[in-house]
């Protein structure tokens, strides 16, 4: 029997934190470097090359997917104020994967596609959670939602694994859990392990679970 649902107090505290940093809304840190809209053909699809993107992280540093050619890239769609996302970071689900694949040429990225004014948006807020949750990889801000829409990111979390050749090999849930319950099988770990061994990913697509990505109007 699985452990029953846990509720998190952090949600309200987090919301209050959000109110404390309204200045973050005015900053242009989170703006994407390029304004080009991807063509429909550029949509991410498992088995096809993952669309490139350029986004700024919480330090204002530009991160390009293309810079990681030759490495396996794991992307986790992120909203620190979504309780399902928070559940996994508080339980170190993603952080543990980082440790597990240390020295294996695996890169982790979190992307927040929340729009200004929406829950979980803002440079300071995301930087704060990154520190609190000891996230040792870039948290990228995609406030126009261009990259999120391109990847078809629906929930937080929603995970993607890209192989060393730049091909998307996994898209879906982080694990077979549900809100309130960490899963037993971590699909991301499985996909990375199989990719490292040169095997085909056995479960290339799953249905993600979590809060909706807080997109703005397109």
């Amino acid at each position: 029997m699985k452990i029953s649902g846990k509720r998190f107090l952090g949600v309200m505290a987090g919301a209050a934190l959000g109110l404390m940093s309204p200045a973050a809304f005015a900053q242009d840190h989170a703006a994407p470097v390029k304004k080009e809209q991807p063509a429909a053909a550029d949509k991410a699809k498992v088995g096809h090359p993952a669309p490139n993107f350029e986004l700024k992280d919480t330090d204002g540093k530009i991160v390009k997917l293309a810079d990681y050619k030759g490495k396996i890239v794991v992307i986790d769609w992120f909203n620190p104020e979504c309780p399902v996302c928070a559940m996994h970071y508080k339980a170190n689900t993603v952080q543990n994967l980082v440790s597990k694949f240390k020295d294996k040429n695996v890169v982790f990225l979190a992307i927040n596609s929340g729009a200004p004014g929406k829950q979980g948006h803002g440079v300071e807020l995301n930087a704060g959670y990154k520190k609190d949750w000891k996230i040792e990889f870039p948290v990228l801000l995609d406030e126009t939602g261009v990259v999120g829409r391109q990847y078809g990111a629906k929930t937080t979390p929603h995970c993607y694994v890209i192989d060393a050749k730049g091909v998307l090999v996994y898209a879906g849930a982080i694990d077979d859990g549900k809100p309130g319950t960490i899963g037993k099988t971590n699909y991301v770990e499985q996909a990375v392990n199989q990719t490292l061994k040169g095997e085909t990913v056995s479960t290339p697509e799953t249905k993600p679970y979590g809060c909706s990505v807080k997109y703005g109007a397109s």
Binding site: G5, A15, V84, G148
Partner: protein
């Protein structure tokens, strides 16, 4: 400083739940040797919603995480009422419930059961407005076990509303909905009421929607395929074996309450030959 104190005070309080559930019985007792109907009545705060167990892009439906039942009792499956189609920014499609919703839960009670019997369920769910909260509750019901069925006055209204909110059985769809397989696609066409039975209005309904259930084969591009203003819905399914299951909602006029039918159609088995062969276009069973 004040804000910090307020924050600290808030942090120790559980956020007020946005949805609450009660476990109700339709009868005053649990009837031995029968399948009894219990209700999980959710009251949801204004503007918040729960999720139908469907092909949703986000969220998570109410789930029975654990159940404690007397020996020999069996539960389920949950019967889901008609949801509402909900599209949010980013073309995210969900099927939701607002305000109040009662899920019906069959409980099979063995013939030799004696009372009183206690049923205890732990549920959890995701409740969202735009932001989401995880919710959960344990509900318990103790009832005598008897041989006779005596409807409970106090829950009569709730169960009447709950049944009203369920789709009509698939067997009743025959006269109103045409269902046929066409080259790997299930075409559902809402027919006008038959002559004599209706008001002679032969125009197609204002809108038709399809809400797949969780046990349906996945529908391709449900965002667009799941709604139509032509009176006809075409559902493309992948190569998965199984059935198209869910509900077809017919809205005679845009603001009308829909007439909803259950849909359950097995995907025709494709041979090794071309998918266009004629047998693929036949319904899986006789009409």
């Amino acid at each position: 400083m004040l804000l910090t104190i307020a924050l600290a005070a808030m942090a120790v309080l559980d956020p007020p739940p946005k949805a609450k559930v009660e476990l109700l019985s339709e009868m005053t007792t649990l009837v031995a040797g029968e399948t009894n109907t219990l209700g999980l009545q959710f009251r949801i705060d204004k503007e918040w919603h729960l999720y139908y167990a469907s092909q949703n892009d986000t969220g998570f439906p109410p789930t029975i995480e654990s159940a404690t039942l007397p020996e020999g009792f069996t539960l389920g499956p949950i019967q889901w009422p008609v949801p509402t189609r909900h599209v949010s920014n980013g073309d995210l499609l969900d099927h939701i419930y607002e305000n109040e919703v009662t899920l019906l839960l069959p409980v099979r009670v063995p013939t030799d059961a004696t009372g009183p019997a206690t049923i205890s369920l732990t549920l959890d769910w995701l409740v969202c407005k735009e932001v989401c909260l995880m919710g959960g509750q344990t509900v318990t019901l103790t009832l005598p076990v008897s041989k006779e069925r005596t409807p409970a006055e106090v829950t009569k209204g709730v169960f009447a509303r709950a049944r009203q909110a369920m789709p009509r059985p698939a067997s009743e769809a025959e006269s109103r909905v045409g269902m046929k397989w066409d080259n790997g696609r299930l075409v559902l066409s809402a027919r006008p009421p038959t002559a004599g039975a209706g008001d002679g209005d032969t125009r197609p309904p204002a809108r038709v929607e399809f809400y797949p259930s969780a046990d349906s084969v996945p529908i391709v591009d449900l965002l667009h395929a799941g709604v139509s203003e032509t009176g006809e819905i075409t559902l493309e399914v992948g190569d998965t074996a199984g059935s198209v299951r869910g509900m077809l909602a017919i809205f005679p006029k845009p603001k009308d309450q829909p007439i909803v039918f259950a849909v359950d159609r097995a995907v025709p088995v494709r041979g090794n030959s071309e998918p266009t062969r004629s047998s693929d276009q036949q319904p899986p069973s006789g009409r």
